[in-house]
């Protein structure tokens, strides 16, 4: 934020965040990956904080491990091998790595062509470009012919912070979940991403895999055993169920602690598979608790919350308080990610407040 601009001149509804550099978030690793580059003497030269304890992307590393034993695995990217750490894969399997340059639509179609010949391609780029720019290629070349392409959209939601709307993907879940024959999965953290990648190998048909920015706080201390299509109940509760996915799971777990302390027994479910939705788990939420809150990092239109609402309404659910919580139907302001999460009440405090609103 400019130091010449006082908080009083902020657009209505915006609260000031701490000025840099001490309060800033690293936004350079988005493009460079978390690997150290160059020979900088102070780690803070690239980052307001020490990055050494940040959970790195394990995307390339895990796929390289899988490729050691599965000859079908190939990886494509569109000039973002550093950002998504596909370069870790390329270093170990150079002949099975394809970088098409800044050509995302082409990347997805090339992947589909490879898939038609027996390969399982993972095609990764920023979620905004994978899902929005490549939407039609995903539908026509991957989902419709049921090719085992895994389109990986990383740095999803508004995790790219001040890089702005062009680099945000608030619409990807809504777009992807209305494509037939497409499985839509969100990775929760690094260990969960490993589990998703492993489970994806033999999953039939095309998938859209949504990743955060690679520094997502840990939810799973070990690589979990997952089944695509089956939600994971992370926390039990009797008053409120929070259904959430991907990057919001940690915030919701933290919010649940706060709510419990305030006397609201809160269940938290990781609905990592957005499509096909775990309908039983959604209905269980409405049966077991009197309030259902859906939290996602994306535009609330047509996302996970809408999907849950469709299930509840069509099941004739009554007497349950229900709210979708995410980014409202607007383009977000400039800001670092943490400030944006706070602004939209998508951090732990914010989710707690929204839950209390719902229960009031």
């Amino acid at each position: 934020m400019s130091t010449t601009r006082s908080p009083s001149t902020l657009p209505e509804g915006l609260a000031p965040d701490a000025p840099g550099p001490t309060g800033s978030q690293d936004q350079s690793e988005i493009f460079n990956g978390t690997a150290q580059v160059g020979a900088l003497k102070d780690s803070r030269s690239r980052d307001g904080n020490d990055v050494r304890d940040v959970p790195a992307f394990v995307f390339g590393e895990e796929l390289a491990d899988l490729a050691d034993v599965d000859p079908r695995v190939v990886v494509l990217t569109a000039d973002l091998a550093r950002a998504n750490r596909a370069n870790d894969f390329a270093a170990r399997h150079p002949s099975r790595f394809v970088n098409v340059g800044i050509a995302e639509k082409n990347m997805i179609s090339v992947a589909a062509g490879m898939a038609s010949c027996g390969y399982v391609p993972f095609a990764a780029t920023f979620a905004s470009f994978a899902a929005l720019l490549g939407c039609e290629q995903i539908r026509t070349d991957c989902a419709y012919p049921r090719m085992p392409v895994r389109v990986v959209g990383h740095h999803s939601g508004m995790s790219m912070g001040f890089y702005g709307t062009s680099h945000h993907s608030l619409e990807d879940l809504g777009l992807m979940r209305c494509i037939a024959d497409l499985t839509v999965v969100c990775a929760t953290d690094a260990n969960h991403l490993r589990a998703v990648l492993r489970a994806s190998l033999d999953h039939p048909g095309a998938m859209y895999i949504r990743l955060g920015r690679g520094r997502d706080p840990e939810v799973y201390p070990e690589v979990p055993t997952i089944e695509i299509g089956t939600a994971v109940r992370l926390r039990e509760g009797t008053d409120l169920t929070i259904l959430t996915t991907g990057t919001q799971v940690r915030a919701c777990l933290d919010a649940a602690e706060q709510l419990d302390a305030a006397g609201v027994s809160t269940r938290v479910v990781d609905v990592f598979t957005v499509k096909p939705l775990d309908v039983e788990e959604v209905l269980a939420a409405a049966r077991d608790t009197s309030a259902v809150l859906v939290v996602e990092e994306g535009n609330v239109s047509n996302g996970l919350g809408t999907a849950v609402g469709e299930v509840l309404l069509e099941a004739g659910t009554t007497g349950v308080r229900f709210r979708r919580h995410g980014v409202p139907d607007e383009h977000v302001p400039v800001g670092p990610p943490a400030a944006l999460y706070a602004h939209y009440r998508l951090d732990a405090d914010g989710v707690t407040a929204v839950a209390q609103d719902l229960l009031r």
Binding site: V98, K105, S109, A112, S116, C117, T140, R146
Partner: protein, 319 residues
């Protein structure tokens, strides 16, 4: 291709049946006659199927009839008995709307019974206006959205290299399709990765839906543009089966080289005078006497010089 039995007939492939006494030139002549006959078959079947549907892409098939004939009846290394064989040559129809002309070929080659085509476009049929690889044996990739095909084909060529299989991948594109930016993304990918077993054939039939491509959005000079993208290029009369065959056979067949472009100069609607270079027949519907007249016009195949209006437009705009 080895199997050439037309629906309901038992004609044998003349070249294969040719005796040892035949000279090579005579064998070639008989093969070319056969390829011309298959192009006629593609056109007449297209007219027949379009009547079942009530509408069809006539003229885009007519421009590509000789292309499809030479590809499927002479060039491709395919086996209808093993439509998913890993080592087979692949074809991606960038211009998927000529599927109506491909289906009869696939049936004729033995991928499925010709009578299956009687369901064309009817509810639940495997055969729609655009081809579905999951429903129709012999279709290597589903298509219909212009601009994707060359990327798909590049992916197939990359896969062939990775698998150590020396198959060739053919992408059949329209000249109007070259307006799609993704084509040029794929063109860069193909040359960057030196996909020498990738062949793009452009059916340069001069028209897209709204008129002459040169008027709507000029794509020429196609050869020079692809050459600038690192491709090896050539240009051929796309209605001359002998020239097409010679061109295809002259192409280098090795990986790790420049990808190959064949620009086939054609006439949209070729073979039916009222359709040639007419913007009114991209999609049409022939009924009654018109249907009979067109079938009669097509019955004899193309005359060597063709009916009127068949010369490619050679004014400055077209260049």
């Amino acid at each position: 291709m080895q199997r050439t039995t037309e629906a309901g007939t038992t004609e044998a492939r003349p070249a294969a049946a040719g005796g040892l006494a035949d000279g090579a030139a005579e064998q070639d002549q008989r093969l070319h006659e056969h390829l011309r006959d298959r192009a006629r078959f593609i056109r007449t079947e297209t007219v027949r199927l379009a009547r079942i549907a009530g509408a069809g892409h006539y003229s885009s098939v007519f421009s590509a009839a000789e292309l499809l004939s030479v590809l499927y009846y002479d060039q491709l290394r395919i086996d209808p008995g093993a439509p998913r064989a890993p080592g087979r040559d692949r074809v991606v129809l960038g211009k998927g709307h000529i599927a109506i002309g491909l289906y009869p070929v696939l049936a004729n080659l033995g991928y499925f019974p010709p009578s299956d085509l009687d369901t064309y476009t009817r509810l639940g049929s495997p055969f729609g206006d655009h081809p579905d690889m999951k429903k129709v044996a012999g279709v290597d990739f589903s298509s219909g959205s212009l601009g994707h095909g060359l990327s798909i084909a590049a992916g197939m060529a990359l896969a062939g290299r990775l698998s150590g299989l020396p198959y060739r991948t053919w992408a059949v594109l329209g000249d109007g399709e070259l307006c799609e930016g993704q084509v040029w993304e794929a063109a860069m990918t193909a040359s960057h990765y030196r996909l020498g077993r990738l062949v793009a054939v452009v059916d340069a039939n001069q028209l897209s839906i709204d008129g002459f491509v040169s008027d709507v959005m000029a794509v020429e000079p196609v050869e020079e543009r692809f050459a600038a993208f690192g491709w090896q290029t050539c240009r051929v009369d796309g209605h001359d089966v002998a020239a097409l065959r010679a061109c295809f056979r002259s192409l280098p067949d090795q990986d790790d080289g420049p990808p190959l472009l064949v620009v086939a100069d054609t006439v949209k609607g070729r073979g039916v005078a009222r359709m040639e270079l007419s913007p009114d027949w991209h999609v049409g519907n022939l009924s009654g006497q018109d249907y009979d007249d067109v079938l009669a016009e097509l019955a004899g195949g193309l005359s060597p010089s063709g009916p009127g209006g068949t010369e490619p437009r050679t004014d400055g705009a077209a260049r």
